[in-house]
Symmetry: C2
Subunit: 80 residues, 2 copies
């Protein structure tokens, strides 16, 4: 079973990297960009075949390692 | 209009950061992890309201800045 974990900054948390990308896009000639927020994605391949067990394990991984839950949100998508 | 760009390493490209995460998860007691691949996500807020125009602009951003198309794939999801 595969899990895709998407970790994004919580609203209100400053994102200097995203702001730098806005600046770079503007200097490349792109206009009309209201903002960019950068996040991370983790594709986790699991041996587990039970969906509920896999989701619980991945949620635990997010809480313990993959996301900093003080400033980041995470979303989990499971695929067989 | 909002676009979510997901940039992932192409299959076969080494991902040392993903391997480090597998090691960290193992040392935290997680078992049965076949692999982890790390990628990036960009949430781009655009002033454009036309879907086709927005998609073309975001595709251009990916080719020019957001992704290194030699080693990375990208996927674009548009939301109003």
């Amino acid at each position: 079973m595969h899990a895709r974990v998407t970790v994004t900054l919580k609203p209100g948390v400053l994102d200097p990297q995203g702001q730098a990308i806005v600046g770079s896009l503007a200097s490349l000639g792109f206009s009309g960009i209201a903002g960019v927020r950068q996040g991370k994605v983790f594709d986790v391949a699991l041996d587990k075949t039970d969906r509920a067990q896999a989701e619980a394990a991945v949620r635990d991984m997010c809480e313990k390692l993959l996301a900093n839950t003080v400033i980041e949100n995470y979303a989990i998508e499971l695929r067989t």
